[in-house]
């Protein structure tokens, strides 16, 4: 009985995943272009940090910023970009808010499916579609930039932690965006909230610069916030910036944040539905 319902469930999840993937590939031109455009900022970043380091150390190769050499900095940038390929959720929160506003969310309320699980599968499919297209360019960029990775491949323990932190980063990013989208049950329009969130995320995730560059008390504050897991944390793991004795503690803290956000999203969803009056007809 249980086994049967489990296979049914898995079959259903697989179908949701497949159809979301198909939908993603429907606009292949736009999709491929959007994927490739993401690689453009790399060049500007390389130039920017080279200029910064020239100004700081007047071009000496030993100049360091908060323990980062120029090579480290560019390696960090590339890795954080990889981390963000997992954690960023373009359009998720605004889509959910729009579905609430326009009453499309009724579809999930009426059908025997779980909105959150459905969204998660759909987003996972989007990501897989993205990786399929992006793997080759990513590999090429990392190959061309291999010179910046001065210390070579890290240990397998660090690699495992890195991969795990990327996957957790995907889930964390998903549930954060989801929670913001679900606020749409109360405010209908979440674009300002989303803007603030994206701004915070941009600076506090380490997307702009490694968080080690921050001075106290900001460094401690940012350390306690969940944003750093979206970009800084995986990159810092890979580059060995996280002390070994703290590594698994921090991965654990990330998992706790994730659990907290899953709980929050469930509360928001069930409260939101209570409040929902079926806007838009």
């Amino acid at each position: 009985m249980f086994a049967l319902s489990l296979t049914n469930r898995v079959a259903c999840w697989w179908m949701i995943f497949r159809i979301a993937l198909e939908e993603r590939l429907a606009y292949r031109g736009d999709f491929a272009l959007g994927t490739l455009m993401r690689f453009l900022p790399i060049i500007t970043q390389v130039f920017l940090w080279t200029a910064v380091f020239e100004a700081v150390g007047s071009g000496s190769s030993t100049a360091r910023l908060a323990g980062y050499s120029l090579d480290d900095m560019i390696a960090y940038y590339l890795l954080s970009m990889l981390a963000r390929a997992f954690s960023s959720m373009p359009g998720l929160a605004s889509t959910i808010a729009k579905q609430i506003r326009e009453g499309e969310v009724k579809k999930y309320i009426v059908q025997p499916i779980d909105l959150i699980g459905f969204m998660l599968l759909g987003r996972a499919a989007h990501k897989i579609a993205y990786y399929t297209v992006a793997t080759l360019p990513f590999a090429l960029v990392f190959y061309l930039c291999r010179g910046y990775f001065a210390s070579g491949w890290p240990s397998s323990e660090i690699l495992i932690a890195f991969v795990l932190s990327c996957v957790l980063g995907f889930l964390l990013g998903f549930f954060m965006d989801l929670c913001i989208g679900l606020v749409g049950f109360w405010f209908l329009e979440v674009s300002s909230l989303l803007f603030i969130y994206m701004l915070l995320n941009f600076f506090l995730s380490g997307h702009m610069f490694p968080l080690d560059l921050l001075s106290e008390p900001w460094k401690t504050i940012v350390d306690w916030l969940p944003f750093k897991y979206m970009a800084y944390f995986p990159a810092a793991i890979f580059l060995g910036k996280i002390p070994a004795e703290q590594l698994w503690w921090q991965v654990g803290t990330e998992a706790l944040w994730l659990l907290g956000l899953i709980g929050l999203s469930r509360v928001l969803y069930s409260r939101g539905l209570k409040r929902y009056s079926g806007y838009g007809g």
Partner: protein
């Protein structure tokens, strides 16, 4: 003691309940919305930032309704009367302010999966299919979501797409379909899992006459075959006349009438229409002495008079005028309903 075990008694009571219980039972159901009372003007808009006045709108007020298995019921009423709100309550999309409802024994707004597998909701103004994909992909997803047996799925899909004549469109992205074709796909998506109860909210809205007719015919055939219990809201009298034996008129969130379509005329219209064909050379002058003249296109004249006065009036007219033909008719349903709506406002 009496030759009946406790179990047997329980079984009997259960049996009795299942007979006595209607498939849809609504008791004193009410739903009020809190809406922000927006004042006109910029100043008021600024004030509204910190001080807001709310107003309670009662969309549905203490509605009682029972629907038996296999009935095809129409909800009729002006815009904003509470028809859609009632359907939303019954499909569990919103919670009521007070009162109870049971559909097939389930409380809709608890949204348990057992209930959600047994009914379907189609909204003429909402799209439930995947916009950029062919409809058949959405159908396959429904096959999984509703755990439809594979053979049963293929059989239903073939039958439904045959009846609605959309076999050739199954592979075309939904965004490329016409409104009528899309509505047919929506219906298929809703019926694949053979729901026992179906809620249709204006399924023919915006469709051309042919498409409306197709969907009417389909619904009538389907309902006759399957004995599905259907609740329909529509503004097209033709939909209702063609499909529903029972009509529930809702205005201002309350039920004003519950009966057959022709019953509406009997209960709400006290007048009849007299249609006369005057003989050659007769003028219609002076007819207004007898009754209200509603149209004169000689030799035809139409008059409206109170139902009780028809024989007297007719006799008087026939005394004074030469008439070739007489017909006594009910006023058009649309007029009666328009009156009814206006009274409620």
């Amino acid at each position: 003691m009496y030759g009946l075990s406790l179990e047997a008694v329980r079984e009997l009571i259960g049996h009795y309940n299942s007979i006595a219980m209607a498939i849809i039972e609504i008791e004193k159901l009410s739903k009020s919305y809190r809406v922000y009372q927006k004042q006109e003007g910029l100043l008021a808009a600024v004030r509204g930032l910190w001080h807001r006045e709310y107003r309670d709108v009662e969309a549905v007020r203490t509605v009682d309704l029972k629907v038996e298995q296999g009935e095809f019921v129409a909800f009729l009423g002006p815009n904003g009367a509470g028809k859609t709100t009632t359907l939303k309550l019954l499909s569990g999309v919103i919670y009521p302010t007070s009162g109870t409802a049971r559909v097939m024994g389930h409380v809709p707004w608890l949204r348990d999966n057992d209930y959600r597998r047994r009914f379907a909701l189609v909204m003429g103004q909402k799209n439930q299919l995947w916009w950029d994909l062919p409809a058949q992909e959405s159908f396959r997803l429904h096959e999984r979501i509703y755990q439809i047996d594979k053979k049963e799925f293929t059989r239903s899909l073939n039958e439904l797409s045959d009846l609605l004549q959309v076999q050739k469109l199954l592979g075309r992205p939904v965004r490329e379909l016409s409104l009528g074709e899309r509505m047919k796909m929506e219906l298929i998506a809703a019926l694949l899992h053979s729901p026992e109860v179906l809620f249709l909210d204006e399924p023919t809205i915006g469709l051309d006459v042919v498409a409306q007719h197709n969907i009417q015919q389909f619904l009538r055939y389907y309902q006759q075959q399957r004995k599905t219990t259907i609740l329909l809201t529509s503004h097209y009298m033709k939909d209702i006349a063609a499909l529903c034996q029972r009509v529930v008129v809702i205005t201002d969130g309350a039920i004003k009438f519950d009966g057959s379509l022709s019953g509406i005329i009997d209960s709400f219209s006290g007048s009849k229409i007299l249609k006369l064909q005057l003989s050659d050379g007769q003028s219609a002058e002076g007819l207004e002495r007898f009754a209200e003249v509603t149209s004169v296109v000689l030799p035809k004249v139409a008059l409206r008079c109170a139902r009780a006065e028809v024989p007297k009036m007719l006799a008087a007219i026939l005394q004074h005028y030469q008439v070739d033909d007489v017909a006594v008719e009910d006023p058009p349903l649309e007029d009666v309903i328009a009156d009814l709506y206006q009274k409620s406002n």
